[in-house]
Symmetry: C2
C-alpha cells in the first residue's frame, strides 16, 4: 500500500493484504496519464508480469475504486476506463469525450466558479435526497477535432 495511505486505519482494514499484483497495477496506473481499460492494464502488465491474470486486474480495480484511489469513466461504447485520483483537488479534471472515436480528453481549466457551484449543488442534493455524494463527473460529449473532419458517414 502506498506509504501515504498505510497509516489510515479504515483503509488498512479494507485492503487486507497488500500484494505484488496490487502494487504493480497501481504502478501502471500511476505511470500513465491516460484512462486505461482493464485490458490495457493487463497488456501493459503482461510484458513484465505474465503470471498476473486479467481477473486479478478487475478485482484490484474494484478494490482501488472502493478505496477511492481511482476513478472510473465509462466510454460511450460501455467499456470502463480507470485513472488515478490525485490528492485533494490537484489534478481534478473533467472530460471531453468524442462520441465517434471514443477519445477522452481531460480539461482542467475550470472557472473558479465551477468548483464553488459543484460544492453548492452537492450540498443541496445531499439534503434534498439524503444522498451521500462521493464524487462527480462532468463530461462534455461531442466530436473531436479529427472526427469532425472525417465525419461524413455519421
Amino acid at each position: 500500500m502506498p506509504r501515504r495511505h498505510c497509516a489510515n486505519q479504515r483503509l488498512r482494514e479494507q485492503v487486507g493484504r497488500w500484494t505484488e499484483p496490487r502494487n504493480v497495477i497501481l504502478d501502471v496506473l500511476s505511470h500513465s496519464k491516460g484512462h486505461l481499460s482493464a485490458k490495457e492494464i493487463y497488456d501493459a502488465l503482461y510484458i513484465t508480469h505474465p503470471r498476473i491474470g486479467i481477473t486479478t486486474v478487475y478485482r484490484t480495480l474494484e478494490l482501488f475504486l472502493r478505496l477511492g484511489f481511482i476513478q472510473k469513466v465509462i466510454s460511450p461504447d460501455g467499456e470502463a476506463h480507470y485513472e488515478l485520483r490525485t490528492e485533494g483537488n490537484k489534478g481534478h479534471h473533467h472530460h471531453l469525450i468524442c462520441l465517434r472515436c471514443g477519445k477522452i480528453i481531460d480539461y482542467q481549466d475550470f472557472a473558479d466558479e465551477e468548483l464553488e457551484l459543484v460544492k453548492k449543488t452537492e450540498k443541496v442534493l445531499t439534503q434534498k435526497h439524503n444522498f451521500l455524494i462521493l464524487y462527480h463527473n462532468i463530461e462534455f460529449l461531442g466530436l473531436c477535432d479529427k472526427c469532425r473532419k472525417d465525419a461524413g458517414d455519421i
Copy 2:
C-alpha cells in the same frame, strides 16, 4: 415520425421509413419517466407486441440517438439506459447515481449560474480543443438513501 419532426428534411433522410416498431418504441420511451435499458423497453413492448425483437430495439435506439430524440446514460455497471430528450431546455436535468444499487435520480433544481457556467465552459472548450460539443452530462455519484442504511457490507 412525430409530427413536429416530419417537416425536417435532414431528419426525413436519415429516418428512411417510419415503421410500427419505431412508433411503439418511441411511445414506450415517452410514456415512462425513467431511464430504460434496452431490455426494459423490450419487456414493456413484449406485452402488446411480442413480435418485435430485441435486435430492433437496439437498432431503433441507435437511430433515435443519431436523430437526437433520446439520450444515453450509462450506469455504473456499464449497462446503457435511454431517455427521451425534451425540446429546448425544458426538462433538462442531471443525474444522481447510486454506486451500490445503480438507481438513477434526476434533479432539475439548477442554480441559474449552472446553465451559464456550462455555456461558458463549452465555449472555452470548443475553441481550445476544436471540439464540437453536442451535449453534456453532469452526474453525482454516491450512495442513495436506502443504500446508506444497509451499506455495512461494502
